[in-house]
Each structure stands twice: as C-alpha cells, then as structure tokens.
Amino acid sequence: MDVAVEDPFLGYDCGPFFCELGTEREGDKGAAAAIRRRIAALGLGTLRARARAAETDLFNLGITFTVYSEANAIDRILPFDCIPRLITAGEWAHLDRGVRQRVAALNAFLEDIYHARHILKDGVVPAELVLGNANYRPEMEEFPVRFGTYVHIAGIDIVRDEAGEFRVLEDNARTPSGVSYVVENRHLMLRAFPDLMAGMRLAPVDDYGQRLRAALSEIAPDAALDPQVVLLSPGIYNSAYFEHVFLAREMGVPLVEGRDLSVEDDRVFMQTIAGPRPVHTIYRRIGDDFLDPTVFRPDSLLGVPGLIGAWRRGHVALANAVGTGVADDKAIYAYMPRIIRYYLGEEAILPNVETHICREAMGLAYTLDHLADLVVKPVGESGGYGITIGPRASVAELERARAALTADPANWISQPMVGLSVGPTLCEEGIRARHLDLRPFAVTGRETWVLPGGLTRVALKQGSLIVNSSQGGGSKDTWVLADGAPNGAPNGASA
C-alpha cells in the first residue's frame, strides 16, 4: 500500500480531546493501530461505498425510527458511522464495575425512599427533592419488589473527558432505549466490514435477549412455574417500535399492546386465539403515566385498566417498576456520589461530571462566580430545555440565567463544559474527529449484568457535543476487546 491510496486519515486532528482510536492506552494490544491501518488500506472510496450500502441495508431491513409530519410517516435510519469505537478489556472491566455499582445504588435508593426513608431523615438528600418530585409515586410506598430491584433495565450515559476519565453524565432508569442498535450495528459491521475485524477477539453482544428474558423470568410472581413474559409497546406508531420488535424477538416473547391485555380478579391476561392466557411479567415500554388509566392518566389508551391493582397484589411483575423516574432526575443525579457512599460505603467508581448544586450556598456562589464557564441546567426538565451554555452564551443570556438562578437557586445545577472524547468518523471532508458518548445497558433481576460495550453515539456535526438522534446524532459499533489473547494481526502483518 505504498502510493495506491491516499491516507484517509490525512487531516485527522483530535485536538485537545481524548481519541478513542488514537490516544495511546494500555492493554489495546495493537488493536487500534490495526483498525486504523485496515481503514487506511480500504481507502476513502471503498469506505464510502460500503457505508452507503450498509445504510441502504438498514433502510431495507426497516431498522428505522419513524418521524411523523402532517401528512406522512417517514422512516429514518439512525445514521451509522462505520469506524468502530474501541474499548480495551481493562477499560471495560472498570466501566462494568462502575455501572453495576451505579445500578446497585439506584435500587438501594429507591427501596429506601419508598420505605424507611433513612437517607432523607439523615439529611443526605433533601426530602422535598424526592417527595416533591413529579416522578415520585406514592403508590409505591411500602410496596415490596422482588430482590429489591426497581430498575431492571438501566442505561447509564457515560462520557470521557480530556484526561481520559470516564464520567457519568446521566442515569436512565425508566425505559432507556438504544440497545437494539448495539446488536444491529454489530451485525451490520459483520456483513459490511468483515475484513476490519478479522482476527480481533471482541466481547459478543448477542446474548442480551437471553439475559433479559432470564431476569424478567426471575422477577415473575412465585406461583408461575413457567412465567409468561410479554413486552408492552405503545404500538407501530411509536418511534421506538423497531426496538420493541427487536427485544420481543430476541427474547422470544409476544409484543403486546395495552388492548391485548385485560385484568380480571387482579390477574393479567393476554387475548389469544384460544382465549385469555395469564401473563406474569411485563417489560413495559410505556411511561408510568400511561400504564393504568384507573390510577394514572385517565385519558391513556395505551395502558391496561386495573394493571396497577394486579401488580400491587403481586400477581404480575413490571419492569421497570413504577416510580423509578425519581432516581434518574437531574436533581438526584447531583447527589449520586453521596448516594453511593451512603448505601454502599464506597466511592463512585465512575465519577459524575463535576456538579454544583445551587440549592446549596457553596454551589450557588461558585456557579454565580463562574457563570461564563459553566453549563447551567434546570433540574426538572429533560430534552435540553432551559440550558444555558456559558461559554457560548451572549451577555444578555448570561444575565437572564443569573436572574433565574438568584430567583430560585434550588431549581438549578451547574457543570463545567466537558470536552467529550472523539473518534475518527467518516464525514463529507474525509475522516474527521467527532465527539462521542457511551450508553451501556445493565440488566438486573437477582443480579446485575452489563452488556459489553453499549451504544456509542456520535455527534456528526463538527464541534457539536449533542449526540441525540433528534439533533444530528448517529451511532457506531462499540468493540470491547476480549481479555486474554492478543488482538489484531501479529506484527502488523495484515492490512
């Protein structure tokens, strides 16, 4: 490969950020270099052609989310970048421990606040932050859940800062999505770029469905010998419908809608061609509010009247449990390091992004003094509303933020701008550095298991830190190197 193809990495510059395929790190056993070499050998033209074919494949397979406009339903794929993100076995061991610790703390916290409330009484977390939270569910009080597991499926959003340290940006303890892309991206890479991973030993991602089904069977009511698990979806018009299909298929369980289920004598049944059949565990992909119109939103057509009653009687298990939203709130996030210490007696393995709690005098003072350098976020909101990014804000915007902070400090937290790590990404101009995050998925029944890797999201716009699919984000395959054997080609012989 002397002169034949121009080096596609020409012009690649990761700037001050950590590069997931370039920055030197222990334990990579030459894998990153091998991947870069192989990509270089393919050349830009081949890369682009294969990437296009891969995206067409996604479209034809209907691995899409649906965007509804006034008149049309448009199927969109989540843009896929073919250059993988690499995680070493050592890094993964660290992430895996950190995620499991996080999930353990979330569950301990939920168990406590819905029972004895020690943490509130001890003043570690302000009581009004929990009890006044819109996602706090009084229905859950004194209600035991099996194994103390409330969050059966968690997605922990993790970023990596300039120093290479992994930090948690957000916990998703309600119905985190994206795991289907983890598996589908791997299948896509196996089809489109088999030569890129030849000889690499990667941790497999194929047993998510089995693990999930096992956990959901574990939490089923005692009486069920062969528990019937179902996945409850809002239906084909939901934008995440593909993921629901994926999960139902991988688990081998029916995908049901609310209208397939009914409750009689506090027991849940699904309507089959042979009449009603009992259901024991429901993996629900609809929010608390919509689960049961007799308890929550009366206008919900997605839910099942009487479901909560059946659940409280212990005749059916719900995953995730009701009321987990109080734990993944931004206000609680700030307290997570203290929550971990409180319940587990350990320091957080994966630190938070440094967070200043403005309801506390020190946090407020610091925030007001450094407003221009900080990202200020309201605690109750999601989806990026009400955020002021100090370094990118005008003087007027900063003044507005200052006024809002002073008026109601308890509503705000602030964080420094994190320089998210980057990965080489195929762009119009060539291979360029784009910011990434990582969402590992943890499944918990009796114990917690974390799917190796997770969803790597990439902000496709230059300089952008926003990886959400609604704002120009895409995804990459996440390669976790298996421990043990060497990776990549020996002596760099193969390209």
Partner: protein, 333 residues
C-alpha cells in the same frame, strides 16, 4: 405437542389481512392484465370500465374522475393511494399489518415486503403507458409471488401459518370470481360467428390472467365452450386458483387449527366452507354460462364474506368490540 403459548388474537388478525392484501395486489394486477389484453378495438373505455364495476367502485371513481377514460382508470388503480381498492392502498395496508407482525414474521419476509412497498408507492404515470404497463403488472405480480415464496420457505408453520393461508385463500377465491365476472361486464356486440371467435379470445385472456391457460388446454375438450372455462375456474380440483381448490385448502387449514391446536371456534367457518363447496359442486355450469353467472358469482362473494366473518368472530374481533387501531380500521372485505 405444542409448548408455545397460543397466538395473540391481534397477530392472527393481522396475518389474515396481510395475506389478503398481498393476494389482492397480485389480483388487481391480473385484472388489469386481462383488461388490456381484451380485444375490443374502439371500445376501450367499456373494457376498462368493467374493472371499476367489478370492484363496485362506480361511485368513488366518478367522484374522483368523472368521465371514464382508460388513463383515468389505470391511474385510479395503480397510482392513487387514497383509493382504497388501488394497488398502492393494498400494499400500504399489507405493510402496516406486516409492521404489526414484525415480531412474528421472518426478517426475509419483512425485508422483501418493505422494499416492494417502497417500489409500489413510487409508480410513475409514465409506467402506465404503452408497453410499460405490461412490464409494470409483471413486476407487481412477481413481487407478490416472491413474497409468497419467501413465506413458504421461511415462515414458521404454527398456528400463525394457518391464519396467513386462510386470508390468502379467501382473497384468492374472491378474486377468481371477480376475474370471471369481468367477462360478464364486457359487451360483445358482434354477429354470430365473429362473436364466437372474439369470445374465445376473451376467455383465453381470462384464463391467461389467471395463469390457467395452458393447464386448461391440457384438460379441456378441443372444441371447448365458455362453459368449460367457467367450470375450470370454479370447480377444477387441481388448478391453484379455482374456487373449489381454494375452498378445499381453506377447510384443510381450519381442520388443522381444530385438531392440532384444539380450536373449536373453527366450527362455524368450516360449515360455511363446506356449504360453499357443495354449492359449487352442484352448480349447473352450462346453464350458468348462458345467463345467471353474474348472480351466482355475487352469491359466492357474499358467502366468502360470511366465511371471513366467522373466522373473525371466532378469533379476532369479538373479544374487544371497540378495536380502534388504524391498522384494523383499514381492513375491508
């Protein structure tokens, strides 16, 4: 020995309708083929209007287009998605049901249907003109046949398979009656000998559109009459699109559901199917072809609707009368 839980009622309903709509796509293409191969120079509009009549679309067509000219009719059935009896509407409904069924059907079925849908919702007016039209109808037929083959080769043969096949066969039987009926609607104002030749040509076209021409030649007398064609399409025991064969297959699937899966709800539908088979068996085709064929076919179509309704009542709809899903609402018998 069956350990899997019984099929979700909603899945059974979607399977039935997905298969029906796909079969309908193929048959609309066949009806269009028979229409443009009819020899009736100078009377093109009548020929094409027969299509509107056998679909009972007179009103909706006149609202959309007013005057019946061949171009408007082709447009109506091949391009207009808001016409519920058009090919784009049928493929849309098939795909919506397939989306519901994605957890159940094979990935290969879904992928082909998804691509086929993309192709059929992008038919351009240029493809309706001249020789392009026959290539288009070929493509449509082959698309459905590909799906049929993929289904045969990849779809798991449990209860779901039977509901899929029931939908397909009921639609096929219905469409064969319509194909026969199209002949009734075309006026043949020729003199005696001339008329005989034209008629034979036209019956040949009907047979070809039903893919039965060569088989018919093998089994029919040399000097065949229209009655032989009618008998072939209604009562032949080996021709895959004959009403009788469809009914026999329908009974076979219903019996499988009853015996293998213990579904007693098949009883009423089985009775309907037997009754229809008896009706066809006793039909005096000679007399029917002389007159009364149209009424006979009409009667068969009504009975097929009742048969579908029995299956629906037993397995799909009765459990929750207020089913309000858009996928369900679009299902039209």
């Amino acid at each position: 020995m069956n350990l899997a839980p019984p099929l979700l009622a909603r899945y059974a309903e979607s399977l039935f309708w997905m298969a029906r709509y796909l079969e309908r796509v193929e048959n609309i293409a066949r009806l269009i083929e028979v229409t443009y191969t009819f020899e009736s120079p100078g009377r093109e509009s009548e020929s094409w209007y027969a299509l509107v009549r056998i679909n009972a679309d007179e009103e909706s067509f006149s609202r959309a287009h007013g005057v019946a000219d061949p171009e408007a009719i082709k447009h109506f059935y091949l391009i207009e998605a808001d016409n519920p009896t058009s090919i784009p509407a049928a493929i849309e409904a098939a795909r919506t049901n397939a989306r519901v069924l994605r957890p159940l059907i094979s990935t290969e079925m879904w992928k082909q249907l998804n691509q086929f849908h993309h192709a059929l919702t992008a038919i351009s007016p240029a493809e309706l003109e001249g020789d392009a039209l026959s290539r288009l109808t070929d493509r449509i037929r082959e698309g459905v046949q590909a799906q049929t083959g993929i289904t045969e080769g990849t779809f798991f043969r449990d209860q779901s398979w039977h509901f899929h096949e029931l939908g397909r066969l009921i639609e096929r039987a219905d469409q064969t009656t319509r194909l026969l009926d199209i002949k009734f609607h075309v006026l043949v104002p020729y003199a005696r000998e001339e008329r005989r030749v034209v008629e034979l040509t036209q019956w040949g076209s009907v047979l070809r559109a039903a893919a039965g021409y060569h088989a018919f030649r093998r089994v029919a007398p040399v000097d065949f009459s229209p009655a032989d064609v009618v008998a072939f399409l209604l009562t032949d025991g080996s021709f895959p699109r004959s009403v009788r064969l469809c009914l026999e297959e329908i009974e076979r699937h219903l019996v499988s559901l009853r015996i293998r899966y213990g579904l007693g709800g098949t009883r009423a539908a089985l009775e309907r199917a037997e009754e229809m088979r008896a009706l066809i068996g006793s039909a005096e085709v000679e007399r029917l072809s002389a007159g009364g064929l149209h009424a006979f076919l009409d009667n068969l179509q009504s009975k097929l609707i009742l048969l579908a309704a029995e299956i629906g009542t037993a397995f799909f709809r009765d459990w929750r009368p207020l089913a309000t899903d858009p996928a369900g609402q679009q299902q039209t018998a």
